[in-house]
């Protein structure tokens, strides 16, 4: 059985030997290079663009401004949760008369190579009339705030209102009521490989575009639509991809501009985003403010939750539409059973880079808010925060459980799970029962240690469908075509394991083909932790159909009923005894003689997402003089129903934890008041290094297989990330109990902890 085994990845050999093919590695003869000229202002009217001098520069081949693009060009539409209300704030590939963030594309310059294109870019003269910018979502709603999109008439593009019961009424009757304001800063996926594209256009106007990722088939259709071409005149090809995490692979202005330039020039045009550009151009994420009110009784049982969320969208609506804000609010209650809920989310425009998803969108933010609030409730009542959690969990017997809120067009309905168990394991592993003693002993030595917990529910398996095609070749090798894509998560190995399990062959005999619109007929791609759940199930079924076919033919040959046979060890065996009946080498020629095609397709549909869950726990030590934080011990318990490859799941959890840690303590896409991005390089945008990321212990549980798919899987992509910030924040508060320091915003920078400690006198 290869499902459930920690097998080595099929992806790795090429990547380890320098044989990977990332988009920047490709080179075609006659290829030229594009540089995008971007707005230096956060908010301005474009008065004029003079490209004459640049046009005459050595090696320059093409310069494009908005006036060179077709008059009827439409803006980039939404991919997920689209809504007509948002259409007035969509982004055009090049800014027409106004720029709305630092980095807004204004012109494209193509030259023989990037060195030349950059030189020539300096000669383009653009006159701007600078407008007052707005860089804060709450301020953006004030009447005197400048309006970003005059057509829309308001900066509040959307309001999401979710309700269960009557929170306002319920709050009136609660014994205790707590109100807090919490904030999560702007940060994002920041993959190690920046975006890039390489577009070729042949004499017949056929386009081939390399560098697609994540949602290749969707972008294929969109590209055709925007470029006014037939879908079969364009081929999109996924290359190796140096990290996805949400931002990479969405349809951006460049996904139009580079193919368009290639069509104009009839020669290969390459564009590789540089790192400084990446910080300004690629989706940001996460920034939101919450005003939370909770009502509870003296035992810590929470009855009412009310939250008003201010979601900072940046200058335009990008491809995710309302996905992040709606997931924020629908998943905000997490693993808890609150009887009355009311959440209002304002989606607000500001003069900053537009936002999209980043690993655990909405849940990273909501989990921080909720799990901090749980600890605040506990502190208020002087109760054990883990006990407060316990008292509020949805219990297994309440499943399936709906919290009454919806996102991505469906009501949240948790299918199965036992949330208390993961907390229990975390408490045990971290020694919570003995921790108070350990803590006071440490304190006597002048050391400040603390332990914090955070529970979470994730979502995975976003539908509505995924496609797989599994074919056995005459030599016994299997080709599995999938609509998923590889962003480093190991989907190739995962699918090979699934096929191998069904067909009884080594997983190394399976080649997985993905992300090429000429080879794979359809697909939805890899996002929202849907790969193993939806794509894996499609492959399982397609391989299952192939298995049935093979067994039926073998049954005919062997003259026994098919249900007495099975596939194992590279051949047909008798199901009961496992004894070999017919090796594939014998069966496959028979199939080809009979003219039977050994290729099966399957489209797996799924109506509801599924919900893995777990608990993070962090033990930290603080230096009271410097505010420096050290993580002494970190633990994650995660129940995902079924792990296809536990080693890969662990890799996802630990890698995800490191990203969550970045968001918790280090990373910040910070703007000044005139809207300049002041953390636009790795010098000032701090990604955790091997010195900051601690050793993490993970415990992978398979207690509640998902009833919604044949594999029982619930997905592993995001659970490592979403609960890091509250686990650490709660640990900090626990370490400094007597100081009552208000840990309500991220990132948890040491200077803030140090300042807070200076100002706060111990309470007792």
């Amino acid at each position: 059985m290869s499902i459930g085994a920690s097998l080595k990845r099929l992806e790795d050999y090429n990547l380890l030997t320098g044989r990977g093919q990332y988009v920047g590695d490709l080179q075609f003869s006659d290829q030229c290079e594009a540089v995008i000229i971007r707005s230096p202002h956060a908010h301005a009217i474009i008065r004029s663009i003079d490209v004459e001098e640049a046009r005459g520069f050595d090696g320059v081949l093409l310069i494009l401004t908005a006036s060179d693009l077709p008059d009827d060009l439409r803006p980039i539409p939404m991919r997920l949760s689209p809504d007509p209300i948002l259409e007035k704030a969509l982004q055009y590939p090049l800014a027409k008369d106004r720029v709305r963030y630092v980095g807004d594309p204004v012109a494209v310059i193509v030259a023989k190579n990037r060195y030349m294109a950059e030189d020539a870019a300096d000669l383009i003269k653009i006159e701007y009339e600078v407008l007052p910018p707005v860089t804060d979502a709450v301020q953006s709603l004030e009447p005197e705030a400048p309006i970003l999109h005059p057509d829309a008439g308001t900066n509040e593009m959307y309001l999401i209102h979710g309700k269960k019961g009557d929170a306002a009424e319920r709050l009136k009757t609660c014994e205790h009521v707590l109100e807090e304001e919490l904030y999560v800063q702007r940060h994002s996926g920041i993959p190690m490989e920046t975006r890039g594209l390489l577009a070729l256009c042949d004499e017949d106007e056929r386009l081939t575009v390399y560098g697609a990722a994540k949602v290749v088939h969707f972008n294929h259709q969109l590209m055709a639509r925007l470029l006014n071409k037939n879908i079969d005149e364009i081929r999109l090809v996924e290359t190796d991809c140096g990290g996805g995490f949400g931002p990479r692979g969405e349809f951006y202005p460049e996904d139009y501009l580079i193919p368009f330039a290639a069509m104009r020039l009839k020669r290969p045009v390459k564009w590789i985003e540089d790192r400084l550009e990446h910080f300004k151009a690629t989706n940001h994420s996460r920034e939101q403010k919450h005003r939370v009110t909770v009502g509870f009784d003296g035992d810590g049982r929470i009855y009412a939750l009310r939250d008003e969320v201010f979601f900072d969208q940046g200058g335009y609506i990008r491809t995710h539409g309302t996905t992040v804000p709606s997931l924020t609010q629908a998943m905000l209650p997490g693993p808890y059973d609150f009887s009355d809920i009311e959440i209002v989310t304002h989606l607000v425009l500001t003069n900053k880079t537009p936002v999209g998803t980043y690993r655990g969108p909405g849940r990273f933010e909501g989990t921080f808010v909720r799990e901090r609030v749980i600890d605040m409730v506990a502190a208020h009542l002087k109760l054990d925060p883990t006990v407060v959690r316990e008292r509020n969990y949805i219990r297994p017997e309440q499943m399936p459980y709906s919290n009454g809120l919806s996102a991505l067009g469906q009501v949240i309905e948790y299918d199965s799970g036992d949330y208390a168990e993961t907390l229990d394991r975390a408490r045990k592993f971290m020694g919570w029962d003995e921790f108070a003693g350990k803590q006071s002993r440490a304190r006597q030595e002048g050391r400040f240690i603390g332990l914090g917990f955070a529970s979470f529910v994730e979502k995975s398996g976003f539908g509505p469908w995924e496609f797989a095609e599994v074919e056995m070749r005459p030599d016994g090798r299997v080709i599995c075509k999938t609509g998923l894509t590889e962003v480093g998560q190991g989907i190739t190995t995962t699918l090979a394991q699934i096929c191998s399990d069904q067909l009884g062959i080594p997983y190394g005999d399976v080649s997985v083909v993905h992300g090429d619109t000429a080879l794979v007929e359809k697909g939805n791609g890899s996002f929202a932790t849907r790969g193993a759940v939806v794509g894996g199930s499609a492959a399982w079924h397609a391989a299952g159909l192939l298995k049935e076919k093979l067994l039926n033919i073998a049954a005919g040959q062997l003259e026994v009923p098919a249900d007495m046979l099975a596939l194992k060890n590279g051949g047909v065996v008798y199901a009961e005894t496992g004894q070999a009946a017919m090796p594939l080498e014998e069966l496959l020629p028979v199939c080809s003689d009979l003219g039977i095609s050994l290729c099966e397709k399957y489209t797996f549909h799924i109506e509801h997402m599924t919900y893995p869950y777990g608990c993070h726990a962090a033990e930290v030590e603080l230096d009271p003089d410097t505010g420096a934080l050290q993580i002494l011990n970190y633990y994650i318990a995660y129940d995902l129903g079924k792990a296809i490859n536990p080693m890969l799941v662990e890799g996802q959890l630990i890698g995800g934890m490191a990203q969550g840690l970045g968001g918790a303590i280090y990373e910040n896409l910070k703007y000044d008041e005139i809207g300049q991005l002041v953390s636009g390089s790795f010098m000032d945008y701090l990604i955790p290094t091997s010195m900051e990321v601690p050793e993490v212990t993970t415990e992978i549980l398979e207690n509640y297989p998902s009833p919604l798919n044949p594999l029982g899987v619930k997905g592993a992509g995001e659970g490592g990330t979403v609960a890091v910030a509250p686990a650490i924040a709660n640990a900090i508060v626990n370490a400094l109990q007597e100081y009552a320091i208000p840990i309500t915003s991220l990132p948890l920078r040491p200077e803030r902890i140090r300042e807070a400690l200076k100002q706060m006198k111990p309470e007792r």
Binding site: D12, N14, T17, D25, I190, M192, G244, G490, S681, T689
Partner: protein, 169 residues
Amino acid sequence: MTEKTAESNRLKTITLKVNHKEYTVDVEPRMLLSDVLRDILRLTGTHVGCEHGVCGACTITMDGRPVRSCLVFGVQADQADIVTVEGLESEDGELHPLQKGFWEKHGLQCGFCTPGMLMTACHLLEHNPDPSREEIREAISGNLCRCTGYQGIVDAVEYAAKEMRERAE
């Protein structure tokens, strides 16, 4: 024609050894070594993640020392002896113990940081055949990885160190 002359006037001829092979190439003085390796020599295993010397993806060894090839001009590498990720495998195609370790211990996900990590780790093990986990972490701390959380990488380097020690015995 004038264009060509202007261009060729700017070019400098350099000779460098990469993975034991000698190359003589004409480069503009401003061309980064990373671009020389990738675009002219077509050794694309060396990756570029930031071009400002922080991410470490472009790390190679130059005259035995790990160097960020995005911070060196091609002309500065004249006469240098360079090893890139493509030079790690042995002549007969056997993987370096570090490559094996990364494979065994899930030391990579997207693989983009991997060449730089391998080159940095290679230098570490040459100078410290039995590093502690802490020492490994310190040695690779100049290489950013966004996928793995480093734990698999540390495991991989430990694995390789052990393998290499056993081989040496």
